[in-house]
């Protein structure tokens, strides 16, 4: 790949989502000597997705740390490093491997500040590649974001595109709160133009990524692209969909969603996680509460069935896609 490795020349460049994260991490390491990266295989290998490629070489083994293969240990020691003044950025190799660290994240990372009555902070970023569609074996394609979003004390965000990946990772690292940072692994190779001198969009804000008038579609992470494709297809059929990238799952930023629904009267939520107890349920409940008299149809949710992630030969049927989104749009108009 003929991608530049720095962002300081002020020129726009074509980057992949993975590269955006890499450049963002690099800039965070440059800007703050307290920033540390920790994870399995993130050093010489550059991580299994190469997100940390070249960083250990340039910043040393003391700042880009190949950890033992123990997720609770990684997050637990990150807590101690944070207490001693560092800003650890932890890489969890795959979504399904975060669970050994779940205890530390929920019982310690999330609650430490409240426990200490605000005398300490937990500026930890936990990066998790999530979602399916890459033909992987079990535990490599899951969407566990709702577990984290429902935990008070954590912030949860999901990047959907290369430019957001570049800025959001830096903003998450600069946050004094712990941030669980979801990366759409099947979009790591998607490309976009990055202007490193641009003013970044705020981290904890959702964003209208396609204007429309007939129905609102809300998504985040890997499903944003799917929904944009669905909106393009719907346009061919004469329907104008407004697509909103939530970007932040805790806190939720729903004002743009309310404004959109008041305009369109219809809402479809989309994520790869199961419909049952997924993020879409919270969005639907809030929109029903705030936009009750604007709704022309019930809020409809698109997601996965309530089953374990299936063998990859049937994941295309399991995962929401353009057709499932358009089917929900049709049903919303059938009311």
């Amino acid at each position: 790949m003929a991608e530049s490795t720095n962002t300081k020349n002020g020129q726009t460049q074509q980057i992949s989502l993975g590269k955006g994260l890499n450049l963002g991490l690099r800039r965070a390491l440059e800007d703050d000597p307290k920033v540390l990266l920790m994870g399995e295989d993130i050093g010489k290998l550059g991580g299994v997705f190469r997100v940390t490629d070249g960083l250990q070489k340039d910043f040393g083994e003391g700042r880009v740390i190949d950890t033992p293969l123990a997720e609770s240990g990684i997050v637990g020691t990150a807590v101690g490093l944070a207490l001693s003044g560092y800003r650890p950025v932890v890489e969890i190799q795959f979504d399904g491997f975060v669970f050994p660290a779940f205890d530390q994240i929920v019982t310690q990372v999330a609650k430490m500040r409240a426990r200490a009555l605000g005398t300490v902070s937990m500026p930890i970023v936990i990066r998790i590649p999530f979602g399916g569609g890459i033909g992987a074996v079990e535990h490599h394609s899951e969407s566990p974001e709702a577990y984290f979003a429902m935990t008070a004390g954590l912030r949860v965000v999901a990047a959907s595109n290369p430019v957001d990946a570049y800025w959001m990772i830096q903003q998450a690292i600069a946050s004094d709160d712990p941030v669980v940072f979801f990366e759409p692994k099947r979009r790591y190779w998607d490309k976009a133009e990055l202007d490193p001198d641009a003013t970044p969009y705020p981290l904890y804000a959702s964003r209208v990524v396609r204007q429309g008038t007939d129905a609102t579609v809300v998504a985040y992470g890997p499903m944003v692209k799917t929904c944009l494709e669905a909106a393009a297809a719907a346009a061919d059929e004469g329907r104008s969909l407004e697509v909103i990238d939530l970007r932040t799952l805790n806190p939720l930023d729903l004002e743009p969603v309310y404004a959109s629904v008041r305009k369109t009267g219809r809402l479809i939520t989309v994520h790869e996680a199961s419909v049952f107890m997924g993020m879409g349920a919270e969005v639907a409940a809030k929109v029903t509460e705030k936009c009750f008299y604007s709704l022309e149809a019930p809020v409809l949710r698109v997601g996965a069935p309530h089953t374990p992630y299936p063998p990859s030969r049937v994941e295309e049927e399991f995962l929401p896609d353009l057709d499932r989104v358009l089917d929900a749009v049709d049903r919303a108009f059938a009311f």
């Binding site: 003391g62 609770s72 637990g76 020691t77 101690g80 205890d103 409240a114 709160d177």
Partner: protein
Amino acid sequence: MVTSRKGAGGKTAAKKKAGPKDPDLVQLLTPEGELVEHPEYSIDLTPEEYRGLYRDMVLVRRIDAEGTALQRQGELGLWAPLLGQEAAQVGSGRAQTAEDYAFPTYREHGVAWCRDVDPVNLLGMFRGVNNGGWDPNEKNFHLYTIVIGSQTLHATGYAMGMQRDGREAAVIAYFGDGASSQGDVNEAFVFASVNNAPVVFFCQNNQWAISEPNERQFRVPLYQRAAGFGFPGVRVDGNDVLACLAVTKAALERARTGNGPMLVEAFTYRMGAHTTSDDPTRYRDSDELEEWKAKDPILRMRAFLEKNGYADEAYFKDVDAEADTVAADIRHRCVTMPDPQPISIFDHVYAEPHPLMDEERAEYGAYWESFEGAH
């Protein structure tokens, strides 16, 4: 105040040359109050320092008893007594410098005392007015951790931070025999080992993880486990304050000087219940308790002071009186501790502004205020 054996000439206290029954157990003071020699560890304190350790243990036991009494009278929801573990906590506590950092479980009231933490701070969580509530950096004493073993990883990470900053200090991680089965504790051993982190793992093996005895947790003596992780482990008589002090001091100094982690197993006994909610008569024999009463850490220190003429009856009475004064003060400050305002639950969840906190603070606040007589 701890010296190596080679430089320990001119002692004032009489010593006899007889080791403990367990050859691997480091003991410097027998249950009868006799000093004994050990090939690796020794101690030579001034009479004032010996008295100080005794005073610490008496005060800590009294504070602990007050905690139990406050719970029995409904002023605390729960208390986790340290009865019987005073020597392990005071010995290891006094081994630390102000720059060192301790990560406790929820039973380290004696360590807190040694680190100059106000005992009333410890009561907040047991009374239900906070979930910890002190600034850990004020005395380098982390918050009590209730999830078993989690803090050993925090301690290891903190030590890795110290290592990066080049601080001349070490971390001590407290845990119990039950916690030794937790993944986190074993992961902490791995992380500490491969990073050569300046952390001392101090296990108070009090023989009982609530109702489960040692044989339900391990089949190899705990201190021997360290070898498998690549650092030394030592078993010390946990009811011998002098041995706990000497061994912990050496372990911390070893860590401070770049020699990596060490495991100290303080072999002791939980003379009381696991917590005030527990009933040990359901699972252990009173014979066992009687046997350990004979090894009481305070009685042996008192015998030592008496035998060597370091303290007299008037001194012991003064310490008892001081203990009662401290307990009365704690009691008063406990029962007058104000309940938190309900609205305060939103205050410290996040460091930065969070819209849901603001929204719910306003909504719940208005709802609670709507009741007659609401504060």
